[in-house]
């Protein structure tokens, strides 16, 4: 019985990022060196672990590309791992300390932040070759793509978000934010960028059209991850040091709930009305129901989960 079940598991893995109706999220475990897929099959009440792929040591950031492709950065290993929808892996060497990632929805480019090199590289999403680079502020952490080919870069030691015109690979603006901007998320509904400032314990809200900060929302201690759902209603911020998640209403720009999660929560992604939070110290993923504003479960994963990426069934569209 067991081998049969395992076979079915493998078959599921082969179709990992195929057009599963409900989509899935992927978690990068740094110490455990795994990419773990979490899915909630259509109609199922709880989410479950779908596959845990062994990858090269110390992955930090996971990003989903179009067509079910996954990318993982290895800052210590100077490399990117690319995982195809069929599970096949490739390693791309990167000339720097690869950390933040953003995959172009058109499937042509992958943007990679070089943490200690203070620059962003543009790699061919086909070959991994470095095509261009742009100098940015000190310690580029999170990356997020907006509309019109704009890339937003959390410049951690610069108290700014750099704005890169990816067509020219030129940094066209630096927007002042709080202290220690680390993670950011782009909201196409309101054309905003939300930035979590790890040292000033707040969230800066940027009007992406005007390239100006419009609000600062206090959250918990050491906000380290931020995500916005496809409907643009709720911004979810992980407070790494407080062991909580702040849920911010995008209209009111105020915290509507603070939900306790595991220890040292870091990355977060939203899929199907739920937020999935990587609890780095407690080696699990908290599932938060964004309607009920409560934690509904915790899923054990390999040691040191740092980041989460939602892999929606229809790339580039707001999957539900």
């Amino acid at each position: 019985m067991k081998p049969a079940r395992r076979l079915i598991g493998l078959a599921g893995l082969a179709l990992a990022a195929g057009p599963a109706a409900a989509g899935s999220v992927w978690v990068a475990s740094q110490q455990g060196a795994r990419a773990t897929r979490i899915e909630r099959p259509e109609g199922a009440r709880v989410a479950e672990v779908g596959a845990a792929l062994a990858v090269a040591p110390s992955p930090a950031v996971v990003a989903a590309g179009p067509g079910g492709r996954l990318y993982l950065s290895h800052p210590d290993g100077r490399a990117i791992t690319v995982i195809a929808p069929d599970g096949a892996m490739r390693r791309w060497p990167v000339p720097g300390q690869a950390f933040g990632l953003a995959a172009d929805p058109d499937g042509r480019a992958l943007y990679v932040g070089d943490w200690s090199g203070n620059r962003v590289l543009r790699l061919s999403a086909e070959t991994g070759a470095v095509e261009a680079e742009v100098a940015v502020g000190r310690d580029p952490a999170g990356l997020a793509l907006g509309v019109d080919g704009r890339l937003y870069v959390a410049e951690r030691e610069n108290r700014s978000v750099g704005v890169v015109d990816t067509a020219r690979m030129a940094r066209i603006a630096g927007i002042p934010v709080g202290d220690g901007p680390f993670a950011l998320a782009y909201d196409p509904v309101r054309d905003r960028v939300y930035v979590a400032n790890v040292r000033s314990n707040d969230l800066t809200v940027i009007d992406a059209g005007a390239l100006k900060p419009i609000a600062t929302v206090p959250v918990g201690a050491s906000p380290y991850g931020v995500a916005i759902g496809p409907d643009g209603r709720r911004v979810v911020v992980t407070n790494q040091h407080a062991g909580t998640v702040s849920i911010v209403d995008a209209e009111a720009l105020a915290v509507v709930a603070t939900v306790p999660v595991g220890r040292y929560p870091e990355g977060v992604a939203i899929l199907g009305g739920r937020a999935y939070v990587a609890n780095w110290f407690s080696d699990d993923v908290s599932v938060i129901d964004l309607a009920a504003l409560t934690e509904t479960g915790r899923i054990p994963v390999a040691e040191g989960p740092r980041t989460v990426a939602a892999d929606r069934p229809v790339p580039g569209e707001a999957g539900r």
Partner: protein
Amino acid sequence: MRRVLTTLAILLAAGTALAHGPTPQKVDQTITIRATPDAVWKVVGPFGGIGAWHPDVAKVEATGGDGAGAVRKVTLKRGGTLVEGLDEWKGAERTYSYRMSDPDLDALPVSSYSATLTVTPDGDGAKVEWMGRFYRGDTGNEPPENLSDAAGKEAMNRYFAEGLKGLKAKLEGGPQR
């Protein structure tokens, strides 16, 4: 020559010290103590009172009491000073969280850390957990051995373990002579 190299390594590390590199490490130490949680918290709870129980500590200068934003400057007997800021202090839950303000590689070979100390009941006694998250002293890709993940892990675990041992000894009383 070796001294020059060491100095160079420290200077280079200092340049990236605020850089809070991309690969964090865990530290986690626990001890059980034959005393009530309240008795343990009375000793270990005051943020500026670490000098009363941590055997490595020579001197503490503290400001702000146990309020968020309080600061303690902890000078170690073997040299170096840890400047730490209080994030959260919850007396009812017997726990506080703090983070390093400025790195001092003489004190601990790490570039940044945050930590939480918690006292919980354990049978008739108490359990104290001191856990945290840190980055190695040199967050670049080729750290020298003394500023590596392994060096940071060893130093942080030793500092936490020695502290908890000192706390236990203070509360349970040392060996009778």
